[in-house]
């Protein structure tokens, strides 16, 4: 047992740190450090900077053009990016669909799709949830009918994060209604410029346009955009979700945001209030404990051992912590968190408000963060998974 990183890991971290310092645009990190609105250009600029270095797919193996890092190196990379104020990489391309394409796609599909994901040029969206399929993903109803060398897709996806920017979307579609719901699902890659696709915004509690509805009206999808076998999509979907959940703990971002909470609390004079400070201290303990749990998982992964059964707990804890720091930041701002000013989320806003630019976005972030215990399999579904593993039934 050893808590220290190896000298090789430490010099790896130094290398990453120096690169991020030299390459992360300051206007972008300013927005991240202050929870200001990131636009498409911010996100894609950073994706392309990473892509040029070959790091947009930082978890990819070498054979697909990735750096081939192990679990600890990937963690250190994510940590350096998070602490420096890099935007969270939009995961749908490099983190979610790419591993599925690698594992189950054809060599032609590898050549066709992976380079655009790595470079950051092609923006991917996720087409999983539907109005009737939230946590119960296997109940998807969007239909794909095979006609010759095409599928004809009809239906609706929802909660499509940043789908307004999407070039491509990967979708779970129903290709058969026979047997169990899980057996009739297929995994399709769809060009979002295809005729028949309509994207409509959903405005969330924070007033922001982050998620969308996507409608499919007789959309023609060439059959060579099917991943793997028809009706085997559920297997691929589960593979993808396994990748999503370890990433979702986001402990590095939590560390950065806890530091910000302390700065805010000091500036607002509540850091010396024992009642408030105890809440920060409790959150600090929560974050250290989560980080230790993450490190345990990484250590097991790097050693090539069977994944620890704590991995499923990371999503629950990580999301609760994200909500808690956003809540405490809002409370630190006090009544000056309350003004609801859309423009305050923009960098450089100079509104004539007593609370100023620092406090105005806090409540919006708090409201936005309510999503974290709902998405990626609600925390209640996660508890079902944990209890099933524990009880064995």
């Amino acid at each position: 047992m050893d808590l220290n990183f190896t000298p090789e890991e430490l010099s790896f971290r130094e290398e990453i740190r120096a690169w991020v310092r030299d390459n992360l645009p300051k206007d972008i990190s300013h927005k991240v450090h202050n929870a200001l609105r990131l636009n498409k250009d911010d996100l894609q600029r950073w994706a392309r900077i990473l892509g040029k270095k070959g790091w947009h797919g930082w978890a990819w193996p070498k054979q697909f053009g990735g750096p081939g890092w192990n679990a600890v190196q990937r963690h250190l990379f994510e940590e350096e990016c998070a602490l420096a104020g890099a935007p969270r990489v939009v995961p749908f391309g490099p983190v979610m669909v790419a591993p599925v394409i690698m594992a189950f796609g054809t060599p032609e599909q590898h050549k066709r799709f992976l380079p655009g994901i790595m470079s950051g040029d092609v923006w991917w969206s996720q087409g999983y949830s539907e109005p009737g399929s939230g946590s119960d993903l296997a109940s998807v109803k969007t239909r794909a009918e095979r006609r010759g060398d095409k599928f004809i897709v009809n239906g609706q996806k929802t909660w499509t994060t940043l789908g307004q920017y999407g070039d491509w979307i990967f979708c779970l579609v129903r290709t058969s209604t026979e047997g169990k719901p899980q057996t009739g699902i297929s995994f399709l890659l769809i060009d979002m410029k295809s005729p028949g696709i309509t994207v409509r915004p959903i405005i969330t509690l924070d007033g922001e346009h982050e998620v969308n509805e996507v409608f499919f009206d007789n959309v023609e999808v060439p059959a060579d955009q099917l991943i793997g076998e028809e009706n085997k999509g559920w297997t691929y979907a589960k593979y993808l979700l396994a990748h999503e959940r370890t990433n979702i703990a986001d402990v590095n971002r939590a560390k950065r945001e806890l530091e910000r909470l302390k700065r805010l609390a000091k500036a607002e004079g509540v850091y010396d209030d024992a009642r408030f400070r105890d809440q920060i201290a409790l959150l600090e303990v929560d974050i250290v404990a989560l980080e230790m749990m993450v490190l345990r998982v990484l250590s097991a992964e790097r050693g090539g051992k069977q994944a620890l059964d704590v991995a499923a707990l990371l999503k629950i804890r990580g999301s609760e912590i994200q909500q808690r720091y956003s809540e405490l930041m809002m409370l630190a701002g006090g009544p000056y968190s309350l003004p609801f000013i859309h423009e305050a989320m923009e960098a450089g806003w100079q509104g004539d408000m007593a609370g100023g630019a620092t406090l105005a976005p806090l409540a919006s972030t708090y409201f936005n963060m309510r999503k974290t215990t709902i998405y990626g399999g609600s925390n209640e579904v996660q508890r079902n998974i944990v209890s099933q593993m524990t009880l064995g039934v």
């Binding site: 047992m1 808590l3 890991e9 250290v288 404990a289 230790m292 490190l295 707990l313 009880l391």
Partner: protein, 379 residues
């Protein structure tokens, strides 16, 4: 960064687990509780395993192991709810005796390592709560220049069975002045009186009354307060590991029960309200295990780093112990509150651990006052 146990640690774990499973079952434990919560015979068996000298340097007669081995042993003792004061003697008192120049220190250390004597830290004072700097027991020199101690310490672990005590006492200053505290070695004898009682977990403890009791200075004022803090931090790490072992076992007992007990014609483990409780208990258990590792891994670090880490660990463990303990009882229903069933005894032990070496609120205060601008494991 590596969380694997090496082969030596695994065989140490196996050895302790074998003894606990075969030699310390629930019935034997109940018998020991009835006899006052300490068995000389069981203590002898622990000594036969070579455990009392576990973390004492080899040149001082011990095995020279460190915090990870201590953690491994404590997890296993916790699993079996072992009553004998292993942590207090072997992991708190013995390292305090090692390398001291007091004439009697090495003799007591030798006896402690051999399992021939029980030596414990007598720490608690009535108004101190968990503040280590609050010491009103006085140390003064008698006519011949020998130290004599006067004062009362409470809830001393295995106090009635200890042959010697390590006692923080005040040589100068007011009741809360850390610089005026020295550590003394007090042997049983004139002016030393113990009054035994059982604790809620069935273990034996005592009040220790010192009336001009003869003492040898173990650590002089100035250095003593950090030595005391380190000893307590070792105790915290040990109890964290013990708690993980106890929670591990209690959780397994509870899961078994949920899969066996039937109501409304089905196993109660099929009810989602209870299943989610299981998931939450598992969460608290794994957070606790993670922080017990953290405590052990930070125990040899610089005092400032160590102190913050150990308080962070105790805060997590405190929350986890209360949640896992209370919910284990709730999920068992009526059987959980009976004396004859094991679950309640785990709960009682976990509760005692929370209130030893500083409770959750005390250590939350420590964390709050020691927080840095940075955050996380490597802050």
């Amino acid at each position: 960064m590596d969380f694997d146990f090496n082969d030596d640690q695994e065989s140490l774990r196996d050895a302790v687990r074998r003894w606990v499973d075969k030699g310390y079952d629930f019935e034997r434990r109940r018998a020991i509780v009835r006899e006052g919560g300490f068995s000389q015979k069981a203590w002898g068996e622990i000594a036969e395993l070579g455990l009392p000298g576990l973390v004492v340097p080899a040149d001082a007669g011990g095995m020279g192991f460190g915090p990870i081995e201590a953690m491994v042993v404590m997890e296993e003792l916790g699993r079996g709810l072992v009553l004998e004061p292993y942590a207090h003697t072997a992991l708190v008192a013995a390292p305090l005796l090692a390398g001291r120049s007091a004439p009697a220190a090495s003799a007591w250390l030798g006896k402690a390592c051999a399992g021939e004597a029980i030596v414990v830290l007598a720490l608690q004072e009535r108004r101190a709560r968990y503040r280590l700097e609050h010491v009103s027991t006085r140390a003064e020199r008698d006519g011949s220049g020998q130290w004599v101690l006067t004062g009362t310490k409470g809830v001393v672990p295995a106090g009635a069975h200890a042959q010697a005590f390590i006692v923080p006492a005040r040589v100068s200053g007011t009741d809360d002045d850390p610089a005026g505290i020295a550590l003394f070695l007090v042997e049983r004898g004139q002016g030393v009186e113990t009054t035994a009682y059982a604790l809620q977990d069935g273990s034996s403890a005592a009040d220790l009354r010192l009336q001009r009791a003869g003492a040898q200075e173990l650590v002089a004022a100035g250095e003593a307060f950090e030595a005391l803090n380190l000893a307590v931090d070792r105790g915290i790490a040990a109890l964290c590991a013990e708690a993980v072992g106890a929670m591990d076992r209690l959780f397994a007992i509870t899961v078994d029960y949920l899969n066996t007990r039937k109501q409304f014609g089905v196993a109660i483990g099929t009810f989602q309200a209870l299943r989610h409780r299981v998931a939450d208990m598992k969460m608290q258990l794994e957070l606790a295990r993670s922080m017990s590792y953290f405590a052990a891994l930070r125990l040899n670090d610089a005092p400032q780093v160590r102190r913050l880490a150990l308080s962070q660990a105790k805060v997590q463990l405190g929350q986890s112990m209360r949640y896992v303990g209370q919910q284990a009882i709730q999920l068992h229903g009526g059987i959980g509150v009976t004396e004859e069933y094991s679950a309640g005894h785990y709960f009682k032990r976990l509760t005692c651990i929370e209130m030893s070496f500083g409770d959750t609120m005390h250590h939350l205060g420590e964390v709050a006052s020691r927080m840095q601008d940075t955050a996380g494991v490597f802050a």
